[in-house]
């Protein structure tokens, strides 16, 4: 039957065949749809940005493709991992990222007042992007261990790591990343059974923290002020973004025909959703929101069947991260939340962001693969050893 049957037939025991029959193929398909939409959007949105900064017209498009292909490969390779390999790899990656984050604080590339990047020969690396998913997996493992064996004080470790990571991120400073990490961390804690009274207390603390951050960082203050009272100051970006939505209307201006996009700063990254709205119109935008919604609902749905708490917690955290980033990006463009420079997962330009999001999707795919049932019943009581070890 040739190559295909050898590697993908249902009864084949090869890694690829097992992967193909256990992986969430629908989610995989939609991830590829997002990659394709992303390539299209970068092609239409980035030339004007490139010309504006005096660079070669297709510079961003070419750089996007240079990152896109490795990203797809990385995603597929990670999705082949089994749960234990993934967990161990994440732990090693987390330690590596922490080292790089500390390195960044001292030797990082400073752009617009923030030290977030490590300058490498062909691109700049943003370690926090990779620390984020690794941290979620580590937290999920710590909490799962704790839930299975309360003698293992995993939650203390989790809180400790969380505070340490947040401190590193705030020193850069990178408030967007801090926000995403915080919300994802709390979603893991929430799924792990954080009592509701703590949820409310933490929500209160969150608001307090927000107010403190608001008062101590002037750029956050001005952004919030502009959100609450658009007349107060320079709302150029958001005005242009809303103009793009209005100009697009129901049917859009057509690919490449957008006018407002020419004047939105970062049209290829933080405001790519606005470009999509202007050029492709309302139906496309709703479809795009639908794809993001489908991916996370499907992911959540998939772990409902799982009886592995580690999988539930890590996939829950990763999906939260994915869905939240898309939500903040779209919300900023539509002026529902204060403008926050955040990329649209899998679509926006940005090497580290694309690669890291591909890893996240690869991890979700790996974790949501159908696990071989080893117990006597589905859910409920199972006889197996603690910590996911084989019997």
């Amino acid at each position: 039957m040739g190559l295909f049957s050898r590697h993908f037939s249902r009864t084949s025991q090869s890694i690829t065949a097992r992967w193909w029959w256990t992986v969430d193929r629908a989610m995989l398909a939609f991830i590829f749809v997002l990659y394709i939409i992303g390539a299209f959007m970068i092609a239409t949105a980035s030339p004007s940005v490139a010309i504006r900064i005096g660079a070669y017209e297709y510079l961003f498009l070419i750089k996007h493709f240079i990152v896109l292909l490795p990203s797809i490969i990385v995603m597929l390779v990670i999705s082949l991992f089994d749960v234990d390999t993934l967990r161990r790899a994440s732990m090693i990656a987390f330690v590596g990222c922490i080292v790089l984050l500390i390195y960044t604080l001292f030797f990082g590339l400073e752009v617009k007042g923030a030290k977030r990047w490590i300058d490498l020969p062909f691109f700049s690396l943003q370690p926090s992007e990779f620390a984020k998913p690794a941290f979620i997996v580590v937290t999920a493992w710590l909490m799962a261990r704790y839930k299975e064996n309360s003698q293992f004080k995993g939650h203390y470790y989790a809180w400790g790591l969380f505070l340490f990571l947040i401190a590193l991120l705030l020193l850069q400073p990178d408030l967007g990343m801090t926000f995403v990490v915080t919300v994802s961390f709390f979603s893991v804690m929430f799924l792990a059974g954080l009592p509701f009274r703590y949820v409310f207390i933490l929500a209160g603390l969150g608001v307090t923290a927000f107010v403190l951050i608001y008062m101590s960082f002037s750029h956050v203050q001005s952004r919030v002020d502009r959100f609450l009272n658009p007349e107060s100051g320079d709302t150029y970006q958001i005005e242009k973004s809303l103009d793009a939505f209005k100009n697009g209307g129901i049917t859009g201006t057509g690919p490449g025909q957008g006018e407002v996009k020419l004047r939105i700063p970062d049209a290829h990254a933080d405001f790519i959703f606005s470009v999509a709205a202007e050029e492709f119109g309302l139906f496309f935008i709703i479809t795009l929101i639908g794809i993001y919604g489908y991916i996370f609902v499907r992911g959540f749905n998939r772990i409902m069947d799982s009886d592995n708490l580690f999988i539930i917690l890590s996939v829950g955290g990763l999906l939260t991260m994915f869905a939240l980033q898309a939500l903040v990006h779209m919300g900023s463009a539509l002026h529902i939340v204060p403008t926050k420079g955040m990329t649209l997962p899998l679509i926006s330009y940005g090497g580290s962001s694309l690669l890291s999001m591909s890893m996240v999707m690869g991890m979700i795919l790996a974790l949501t693969r159908k696990q071989r049932k080893r117990g006597i019943s589905k859910g409920g009581l199972t006889i197996r050893e603690i910590g996911g070890e084989k019997l």
């Binding site: 209005k246 709703i286 959540f300 939500l327």
Partner: protein, 583 residues
């Protein structure tokens, strides 16, 4: 199953409790996210459909329009010449002011300003910037380069105030016609003043009959003669005889309308239409035409000019004395005051006065500017004034008036009114001057033809020889008037002029040049008369006009004055006669 194993089973039970709880919370989190995503969808519909499509109708602006100010600022309209060449335009210029309260670092800002405007004094600027006022002027009338430099500074304290400035690209050229406008954009003289309202409201440029090229030629030639003869002033008019449109009007010395505040009164004085002068022999055109028209005088009519004319205590004598009996053409071509006075006497006081009045010589010119001089007319007009008025003394008119009167004589006999406005239909009713609805005939075509012949004769045989341009049949008349001084006329200070028409078989243009107080020089054998001072200028002007306006020379150069020659005695004939008389 050992005890140890039981414990493990218990652990699994706890774990599955955690699983159930986690599943419940997954549902809650999914629900929260779904709601959030639905809000995004709703907001998209709100922005893209409700605000974008339904509320945005009819407000579409292009990319380029968006940056334009809401309302297009209304500027004073341009003034252009007959060919559309720009003569006056209002430009927006910016002036820089500052709000000291907004200055972040006064010392640095003062330094930057000093760098951009080297003529500012650092200390003064710093003092202004540290002051308590909320408004201080830094610099008026910035260049665009300076404006850009200020914008590059990006200081929130600096602001521009935009004002309109009237500029005159041709400087002095045509300054008296255009006039000037004040700092608040109000026209103060010339066309700027008389069409102030129109220029203020109109969007279209106001087109004048002036042709800057011709204007330049006229100014150049008059200025050259003034310099050559150390004259104190000059004036000139070039007019289309068919419709009275003024192609050029020059008054020298002149001024740049931009510097009207510092210009000398002498330079600002308009000698073309405001100044009135006794213009001398050029008036003989009118008295001769009056004679031909009113008394049916003919070419063989003679006038005895051997003795000076005594009327009361006045004595009229000739400048170019011929001391013999002259025919009418001879009186004209030799410019005999006695002969002209006799003509005037024959026409009569009433006849001459009404004829001059018809020509528009006794009233203010109706040209469209405010600087129009009132002619000085003897009052009461005695019979003696009829005699002097016949050769251009006792009546003072502006050069413009004289030019339009000559135009009326040579164009076939129809009255023309001088005008500066090219397309009068474009003006509103308020700005329309009283224009004659139909042609107003002053003299018959035959008399007009005779006058053309006489003018041509003066150039070919008489005092105007220096004005001739081969091929263009220049006709004309000299005028040399003594200026009235203390206790009578001053023989030394003259108004020397020449009025030329061409081509004299069918005249199109009148060219008038007047020089105020020219001095005789070696080259002209000490003469400073119209024939020596003004006629050469007219010759140069006509030669230049011919090439600028692409007027072809008259084919075959017909001798239109030929029929008059038999009434004119040649020098040989005069010699012969004198010889006979001695016998």
């Amino acid at each position: 199953m050992s005890l140890f194993q039981r414990k493990k089973l218990h652990m699994v039970g706890v774990r599955s409790g955690a699983l159930e709880q986690a599943r419940g919370r997954i549902v809650m989190m999914s629900a929260v996210f779904v709601v959030c995503y639905l809000i995004v969808v709703a907001r998209s519909v709100d922005v893209m459909v409700i605000q974008g499509v339904m509320m945005n109708k009819g407000e579409e602006v292009s990319l380029y329009e968006e940056y334009r100010p809401e309302e297009k600022q209304k500027r004073r309209a341009d003034i252009v010449d007959r060919n559309g060449v720009l003569l006056a335009r209002s430009l927006e210029v910016s002036s820089l002011h500052a709000d000291p309260k907004m200055v972040l670092d006064p010392a640095k800002l003062a330094q930057d300003l000093k760098y951009i405007f080297p003529d500012l004094v650092y200390g003064d600027v710093l003092k202004k910037l540290q002051g308590k006022n909320r408004f201080v002027w830094i610099k008026r009338n910035l260049t665009p380069q300076e404006q850009e430099a200020i914008l590059q500074l990006g200081s929130p304290a600096l602001n521009f105030k935009f004002e309109d400035h009237r500029v005159y690209p041709h400087g002095e050229l045509g300054g008296h016609v255009l006039g000037y406008s004040g700092i608040d954009g109000q026209g103060l003289s010339g066309v700027e003043a008389s069409f102030n309202e129109l220029l203020h409201n109109a969007q279209e440029p106001l087109a004048l009959t002036i042709d800057v090229r011709i204007q330049h030629v006229l100014r150049r030639e008059i200025a050259a003669q003034m310099q050559k003869h150390h004259a104190k002033g000059g004036a000139g008019v070039i007019m289309d005889v068919r419709d009275g449109s003024v192609l050029a009007a020059v008054s020298l010395p002149d001024f740049n309308p931009l510097d009207y505040q510092t210009a000398q009164d002498n330079a600002k004085f308009n000698r073309v239409s405001l100044g009135v002068y006794e213009l001398g022999s050029t008036f003989k055109i009118f008295s001769t035409a009056a004679l031909l028209e009113k008394t049916g005088g003919n070419m063989h009519q003679t006038f005895d000019v051997r003795e000076s004319l005594k009327r009361g205590r006045f004595r009229i004598s000739d400048y170019h004395g011929q001391k013999r009996v002259l025919t009418l053409p001879e009186v004209f071509m030799h410019s005999s005051n006695i002969g002209s006075a006799l003509m005037g006497e024959e026409v009569g006081t009433e006849g001459l006065k009404s004829f001059y009045n018809d020509l528009g010589l006794l009233d203010q010119s109706k040209i469209e500017i405010g600087e129009v001089g009132k002619p000085i007319v003897p009052s009461p007009w005695r019979d003696l004034h009829t005699l002097t008025a016949s050769y251009g003394h006792g009546v003072a008119v502006s050069p413009l008036q004289l030019s339009s009167a000559v135009a009326s004589i040579v164009n076939g006999g129809n009255y023309v009114q001088p005008t500066l406005i090219l397309n009068k239909k474009s003006l509103g009713d308020d700005n329309k001057r009283s224009m004659p609805d139909q042609k107003l005939r002053l003299i018959s075509p035959e008399v007009s033809h005779r006058m053309r012949q006489l003018l041509r004769l003066t150039v070919t045989e008489g005092t105007g020889g220096k004005a001739d341009v081969p091929g263009y049949l220049v006709g004309g008349k000299t005028g040399t008037a003594e200026k009235p001084g203390v206790g009578g006329y001053n023989k030394k200070s003259l108004i020397s002029s020449f009025v030329g028409v061409f081509p004299s078989n069918d005249p199109h243009y009148v060219v008038y040049v007047m020089v105020d107080e020219p001095q005789g020089i070696k080259e002209t054998y000490g003469y400073a008369t119209g024939g020596w001072v003004a006629a050469p200028a007219v010759k140069n002007i006509i030669a230049s006009m011919a090439s600028i306006l692409k007027i072809p020379p008259v084919e075959g150069e017909p001798r239109i004055e030929e029929s008059l020659l038999r009434y004119v005695k040649t020098k040989e004939q005069i010699k012969e006669e004198k010889k006979l008389a001695t016998y």
